[in-house]
């Protein structure tokens, strides 16, 4: 990973590295270490004394049925967001990959939601699905369905999933498009000559060749659903109603802010860190060249 021709200089490399190392240590390692340390501490109700309690915060967390509910909510939410946004992205990409007129126009018209902030995506969808003023909510009710995401947990979950998945489609679309473009035409043509129809060609040739891209995107989408969707949830439901849309990240935020339970919040942070580390390692281990473009 190093060049043949390199400079030898006593202190210049350290000067060049100093800003990044300083920021990384101050705003990354120190807080991460603090979270780890605090997760072993227990503060009394008045904040007067702090005891080192080993794994008590973790034991308490995992004996709390609410925490399991939140884990389940997070899994359902992430799975739905990933499935909806991956399948829509793949469908649109496989259509746009055909040699169409105006393929560039389609791409432009499909990629811009990437630039929409998650919180703004939440507000956009809330405006459509708000039980009293949303235009789409009006339509749902006109069809005879009951719809109140402010009171009903399932409706609320549907709403945040739609908003979060909507924002992620453009990202998946772009990466699938890049993945499709990398598949050699000759392979597809050979299958066509053998008489395989378009659908069959897709499932037997194109899709298997896309699996590295799909797997990479799956991990990215799960990370997105775990962490980046905080804005979506906070703008739409604040984790409610009755914690129906509280994900792990949202709980860390809510517990630390409202409850002031620093040890418990820190323990949750540490668990989240371990989840991210696990996901990232999977990505690095099993996806050598993530995208073949």
């Amino acid at each position: 990973m190093q060049k043949r021709a390199v400079f030898n200089h006593r202190f210049l490399p350290f000067v060049l590295l100093a800003p990044q190392i300083a920021i990384t240590v101050i705003f990354f390692y120190w807080p991460a270490f603090q979270a780890l340390w605090q997760s072993f501490l227990l503060q009394d109700a008045f904040g007067l004394s702090t005891d080192f309690v080993w794994f008590e915060n973790y034991v308490y967390l995992f004996s709390d049925p609410i925490y399991y509910e939140v884990i389940w909510t997070t899994l359902v939410f992430s799975a739905l967001v990933a499935i909806i946004s991956l399948s829509s992205g793949l469908l649109l990409a496989s259509m746009a990959d055909k040699p169409l007129r105006a393929a560039g126009v389609y791409r432009t018209l499909l990629i811009w939601p990437y630039a929409v902030a998650p919180a703004v995506a939440g507000v956009l969808w809330l405006f459509m699905l708000h039980p009293s003023l949303g235009m789409v909510a009006r339509g749902i009710k006109a069809l005879g369905f009951s719809w109140n995401p402010l009171l009903d947990g399932t409706d609320a979950m549907t709403m945040v999933v739609l908003a979060a998945a909507w924002k992620q489609i453009s990202y998946n679309f772009l990466f699938f498009l890049a993945g499709l473009a990398a598949i050699p035409r000759s392979v597809i043509e050979a299958a066509a000559i053998d008489g395989a129809r378009s659908t069959r060609r897709f499932w037997t040739i194109v899709f298997p060749l896309l699996t590295p891209t799909a797997f990479f995107l799956l991990v990215v989408n799960i990370v997105y659903a775990f962490f980046d969707t905080f804005g979506v949830i906070d703008a739409m439901t604040q984790g409610g109603p009755a914690q129906a849309t509280t994900t792990l990240v949202y709980k860390v935020y809510a517990d630390g802010r409202l409850g002031g339970d620093l040890g418990g919040s820190a323990a949750q942070s540490v668990i989240l860190m371990m989840i991210v580390i696990a996901l990232t390692s999977i990505q690095f281990r099993y996806i050598e060249r993530k995208v073949n473009y």
Binding site: Q2, L16, L17, G134, F230
Partner: protein, 282 residues
């Protein structure tokens, strides 16, 4: 194409246009919402066509603000968002291009150790260490400052890895040639490496600008004063649970204005954006 069939050519177009319509519909409704008055929206009878209040609503949003919730014109928020987004983009690119330069082009003790120190940060987004980071920022008196908004978010390895990867593809002969010309490491960086990195810098700038502009949780915690809020935080504060107080027409104007800069960047600099997105995930 492999085979020619008239029906086979129509279906992709239809599916793509349906996709585009679904993707664009929420934004269309937001635009419609920004052209009606509060009463029309609040009673749930907003028509699917633009109303007559376009200029009035946008004027109020930018120069007056909502009358019930935030009471602030969004002018300062726009400036704050730009400072934050550009600050993050410039900051991240500057610190990581020089650290990648050090790691690739110099031989010094603990080189790999430094590389790993930076590399590990790839894994943890700011969301998982939010309160301890908040405490560090508070201890350093960074609450309600631009530095507090920007610095913690540039502690990440993506840009460094990208530049490292690019530097590895730059032919060694260039270093040797500039050495023969008597150039030292700093001259080589300015005169050769930086101009070569132009496209990478631009692509990364686009991605980082969007990243900075769309931040939510961190600015929400670190800003308490109204004049330090970003646009995205402002939108959230305009919406209150009591429906009667939320002025949806102003919210929708702000939403439109908050989407405009990053969406414009994506569309206007599409090639750089796609390149930056794909490269930074490699």
């Amino acid at each position: 194409m492999v085979e020619r069939k008239s029906i086979g050519n129509v279906i992709p177009h239809v599916i793509l246009w349906i996709g585009i319509a679904i993707v664009a519909f929420p934004v269309y409704l937001a635009f419609i919402g920004s052209t009606h008055d509060a009463a029309t929206i609040a009673n749930g009878q907003m028509p699917p066509t633009p109303g007559p209040y376009f200029f009035e609503n946008y004027y109020r949003t930018i120069f007056v603000g909502t009358s019930m919730t935030t009471r602030e014109p969004i002018g300062t928020m726009i400036i704050n968002s730009f400072v934050m987004a550009i600050g993050i983009a410039v900051g991240k690119i500057s610190i990581s291009i020089i650290s990648a330069y050090a790691i690739v082009y110099f031989r010094f003790p603990f080189r790999m150790w430094f590389f790993w120190v930076i590399f590990v940060t790839l894994m943890l987004p700011v969301e998982v260490r939010i309160y301890p980071t908040y405490k560090v920022a508070a201890d350093l008196n960074l609450l309600d400052t631009y530095a507090g908004l920007i610095l913690p978010l540039i502690a990440s390895a993506t840009a460094t890895l990208l530049f490292r990867q690019f530097f590895m593809t730059v032919p060694d002969e260039l270093v040797e040639a500039s050495r023969i010309d008597g150039a030292g490491p700093i001259r080589f960086f300015w005169d050769t490496l930086l101009p070569l990195s132009r496209t990478n810098i631009a692509a990364l700038f686009v991605i980082m600008f969007i990243y900075g502009w769309t931040q939510y949780l961190w600015p929400l915690l670190i800003t308490t004063r109204d004049d330090m809020q970003t646009l995205i935080i402002g939108i959230k504060k305009m919406i209150v649970t009591s429906d009667a107080l939320t002025e949806w027409q102003v919210v929708m104007c702000t939403v439109m204005l908050a989407m405009l800069p990053p969406v414009f960047v994506v569309i206007a600099m599409q090639r750089l954006f796609v390149r930056g997105l794909i490269e930074s995930e490699k």
